[in-house]
Symmetry: C2
Amino acid sequence: MTGSWASSVDAHLDWVPGGGRRGLAEAVRKAIRDGRWRAGVVVPSTRALAHDLGVARGTVTRVYADLAAEGYLVTSQGAPTRVADGGGELLVEPARIPVVGAPRWTLEPGRPDPSLFPREQWLAATKRVVQRAPHEVFDYGDPAGSAVLRETLAVYLGRSRGVRADPRRIVVCAGFTHAITVLGRVLVDLGLSSMAFEDPSYARFRDLAAGAGQRVVGVPVDGDGVRVSELDSPAVVVTPAHHFPLGVTLAPARRTALVRSGAVVVEDDYDGEFRFDRQRVGALQALAPEQVVYAGTASKTLAPSLRLAWLVLPGRLVEPVVAAVESSGARPPTVDQLVLAELISSGAYDRHVRRSRVEYRSRRDRLVAALPAGLPVSGISAGLHLVVPLSLDAEASLASVAGRHSLRVEALSPLWMDQERRRGGVVVGYGASSKAAFAGALEALLAVLRELTG
Amino acid sequence: MTGSWASSVDAHLDWVPGGGRRGLAEAVRKAIRDGRWRAGVVVPSTRALAHDLGVARGTVTRVYADLAAEGYLVTSQGAPTRVADGGGELLVEPARIPVVGAPRWTLEPGRPDPSLFPREQWLAATKRVVQRAPHEVFDYGDPAGSAVLRETLAVYLGRSRGVRADPRRIVVCAGFTHAITVLGRVLVDLGLSSMAFEDPSYARFRDLAAGAGQRVVGVPVDGDGVRVSELDSPAVVVTPAHHFPLGVTLAPARRTALVRSGAVVVEDDYDGEFRFDRQRVGALQALAPEQVVYAGTASKTLAPSLRLAWLVLPGRLVEPVVAAVESSGARPPTVDQLVLAELISSGAYDRHVRRSRVEYRSRRDRLVAALPAGLPVSGISAGLHLVVPLSLDAEASLASVAGRHSLRVEALSPLWMDQERRRGGVVVGYGASSKAAFAGALEALLAVLRELTG
């Protein structure tokens, strides 16, 4: 019963039983002419198609032979029968998705080196998870996220980032983008419909918050981080450990003032793992777990394409956030969550983070050493990016000059909301490039800077 | 440089340089007392912590020895030092996520058997993808979905479901729940803010559409499927191949009328792969690709926890839907998308679907044969569920009686929007149970039905 026909392929035919050999042949011709059976595709075995349609196997064999003679199909001894390449009268070329050419070099901020992704460790963890997981793992899961991952994160975040993390207060999201959208909605529903962002900050997150119904306002950032005294919103998103893009750390007095401001503080700890000096800054959340939403992600430590992030929430926000994740209709796959948990609890995640830190620190050092003395970089010794200041005039030519050098970088000034305050510069992401291409990317950057400031 | 310290673990300490041995010891005690360094957790190696903090290794060694003497840490020759179990004065028990007990048997509709998940094939495909994928796969990807998956789906959906699928019109979503939320928003933005659903239908999808800003209305369903003549909305969500929950197929005249109604038709082909007789119904979309949004998912064929679904869109909806996916902040991980593409193009997906079909058909046959003759089931020979009719009075006791038999099933009448039309019954999902437990679940169902109708 589960013999060879079960190992064939499914094929839909517009076919009326009783049409006989001629009707069947015409249905197959039509599927090929319409492009639904594409050139090169294996057709069902004669046995399977006969079984599926309830006709004699000989009928299918003869139809296939006729269509091969007509050039629709290609049969050869010992190989599966396929749809011919351009054999039919009106074969439809399968449509392709156009490939967009990328610049040769990239120093885009906010991206880790995809060539550092720990493929073997990810595979090994996937193998352990998929072979050992109970069947329930493949059923619908907990909308708050896998309990195993949340318990693992609670321990990890406490140990490595000083977060006061109770697994019952952790919610796993499909990336920080998903998290900020969900939080934006929840706060609107709670009557908190204005959300402050550091000015400058990453524009996409502001757009997502606005899309979620928030009125987005800016709070200026100076050398001590966000100016808490100018905060006048019931919620604020901050990057206290390492400001994006300016790279400053929130000063101790400001940390205290921020958590006492009464606002719901969303702590975007996007690259908290990548601090290269010894002044590790613990999570702000530990100061006031009922006031601060801690947000972390695997996008910088592993890969953005994993779409995995986590929130550690004040008690009162847990239920609304889980409900908002449910009504977003989206959440990360359970197996991926378990693979991350396995990587963390086996120690492979820490080892990967520490190895990556060595690589990124070395790139930062090379970058700082290579920059001309007249261009003082800003940003503490942390993260995956730094800022090279430029005049606004020079910055205006950045896109075209960088394009000529086939280099992808980001301009600084568009990250400001307040046009009066904006400053020119290049946000240089030294993570994005692969290890092998970093020297070339650095050369391209220096050439671009020479042209802009020469 | 990347020696043994790079393979240690990260640990955050509230520690001020210059505090010496005493200051460091107090910082570690505090991390343990606060529960941030949890019982049983491996602490950083002395070499790594010394390197991270910029102190002499001997200092860390002595601090660890002191804390072991105090009972905070456990050291043993040749094994890593760990935080002691209850050794500190005020050790915090790590919080756990409470486990909710599940009923012993399940015949919940809308779920495939998680024990059928093709673990080995999934792993093999993951291995091929993770070992061979270009580095870009780990970077941010295309918000419409992986080009490889979309091109693979275009061929697959054409061949197996008769869909007219151009890969440029396919958008990959994080499950059908995500897709319906995104579509709901897009249609509201286009001024189409009333969405009809079949009555009865799956309540969760209606809730998601309402959450996306749609006014949700019902259209009655009879033996020929949804009554197109009563449709009065600019958009409608239908299950034409196999109505959920009633199991009818949309009659040919109604198919034609529906695509000519002018409404945007969302074709939820949730279980189109599981048709057990020979009257395969192709996708409605092929009749009018500019009018119908075809929606498919891996939730029934593989596993709902994968959160993978796809839309084949009319040309004018492609850009708005991609933009709405972006502003949802969520999308499926790229590797998972490539694994699905690999399963489809290697033929493993078809083989799995065909094997599953044999299993589900056999369960359906066993179920129908076991039901008392007085209880005529409804629903064609397809899918993962059927309906056993009950009086509304009998249905009212379903939850409590099923609970007593430790059986999870779903009542029929709550699926209606129009209270006047609702009919009683049990929606029996014969997919949800594992193969081994199916006989027991069936026994429990028969016992429940005897009590309710006896």
